[in-house]
């Protein structure tokens, strides 16, 4: 177990947090945009898909770093809070991979059949052809999981601030490293 989070771990943590929130806001915008703003709608959809796909290798990298470098020693918290924090983090990790994967699969199943082109440069082949029935299942799952991820991340952040205000170094360790 290391004494602090490594620089790479901290940067990845904040980069992924920023990506999740930016992509969530982008999703709200792209859905709300009218078809009369077609260019903006297409661009926001493709950007949303690209940022979502970017989360997948970052997630794998972060998990690899966690396995390789571990985490700092736990701060002094009641046992139940430790357990709750560990459970919350596990669910966060699960949602961090589930949301983009579900999003990509629902893009593949979407009856409109628009391709996924990573930042409008690299075409990413869809694993199956458009399928309305599958889309009807995947789309709400992606949406529900995304809301779950954002709400849980907000709760995670709020608790970190709460502990910081009570003198615990949880937020400081992730922000400044010590």
């Amino acid at each position: 177990m290391q004494a602090v989070w490594s620089v790479a771990q901290r940067r990845l943590h904040w980069a992924m947090a920023a990506l999740v929130f930016v992509n969530f806001l982008l999703a709200l915008v792209m859905v709300a945009l009218p078809l009369s703003a077609l260019l903006a709608k297409i661009l926001t959809y493709q950007l949303h898909k690209s940022l979502g796909l970017l989360l997948i290798p970052l997630w794998a990298w972060r998990l690899w770093l966690l396995a390789r470098r571990g985490r700092p020693a736990p701060v002094a918290l009641p046992a139940w809070q430790h357990s709750a924090a560990r459970l919350g983090q596990t669910v966060l990790y699960a949602l961090l991979i589930a949301v983009p994967v579900l999003g990509f699969l629902s893009a593949a199943a979407a009856p409109i059949g628009v391709e996924t082109v990573f930042f409008l440069i690299l075409p990413i082949p869809h694993p199956f052809p458009p399928d309305q029935a599958l889309y009807d299942v995947l789309r709400p799952l992606h949406q529900g999981a995304a809301w779950g991820l954002v709400l849980l991340a907000l709760g995670h952040g709020a608790l970190a601030i709460h502990h910081h205000r009570h003198g615990l170094p949880i937020l400081r360790l992730m922000w400044r490293g010590r």
Binding site: L35, L39, Q46, I112, G113, V114, E115, V117, L120, P123
Partner: protein, 201 residues
């Protein structure tokens, strides 16, 4: 036993014999042209637009009628007449069909029909031949060419009927028909694609 693809292609003479009993019509002389009439119940008519040069989206016309006159011995004499109800557009993206029916695109209220009548260009083969002629849409008439292909003969598993799949593709310039909206998002060239299964026996 596997058959080589070229063995599956229907020879002209064999197709000529096979298409004769079509549509319950009285037998005609062996070399006469045959009339194939079909609509949305036997085939589909799609349009494919490109966006930002790397993306595509596809819509359909759910009501159209087509008459193809084809003498398999003389594909250079083939003729086709297609009539499409422009208001019958369907599109998977919510609201897109309404936009495409609007005055900015097909203007379906003012121009409810699009028509194409084409004749085969010389030099065609029965497996692949061009049908060229005027396409009238949105009150504008422009020359248009469909590249038609008759695919391999197959037997429909459900009905046991012998079928030849026919596909035809052509490309239009939408601006030539007065559809100039969203040029930054959607390219000028739009593909039209027809696919139909012709029952030959």
């Amino acid at each position: 036993m596997m058959m080589k693809p070229n063995q599956l292609l229907m020879p002209r003479r064999a197709l000529a014999g096979a298409v004769l009993p079509l549509l319950g019509l009285a037998p005609l002389p062996a070399r006469a042209a045959r009339v194939f009439r079909f609509d949305q119940s036997q085939g589909k008519l799609e349009f494919i637009a490109r966006h930002l040069m790397v993306l595509t989206s596809t819509g359909q016309f759910s009501r159209f009628s087509c008459e193809l006159i084809l003498d398999p011995e003389k594909p250079e004499t083939a003729r086709v007449a297609v009539q499409v109800e422009t208001g019958s557009i369907t599109h998977a993206y919510p609201g897109a069909a309404d936009l495409l029916r609007s005055a900015a695109y097909f203007d379906a209220e003012r121009w409810p029909l699009a028509r194409f009548s084409g004749r085969a260009a010389p030099g065609g083969r029965i497996e692949a031949f061009d049908l060229a002629g005027p396409l009238e849409m949105r009150g504008v008439t422009q020359p248009f060419t469909l590249q038609a292909k008759l695919a391999r003969r197959r037997r429909d598993a459900a009905t046991g009927a012998e079928i030849v799949d026919c596909t035809a593709r052509g490309e239009i310039s939408r601006t030539a028909f007065g559809m100039v909206s969203d040029m930054a998002a959607t390219g000028d060239r739009v593909q039209l694609a027809v696919s139909v299964s012709l029952v030959i026996g």
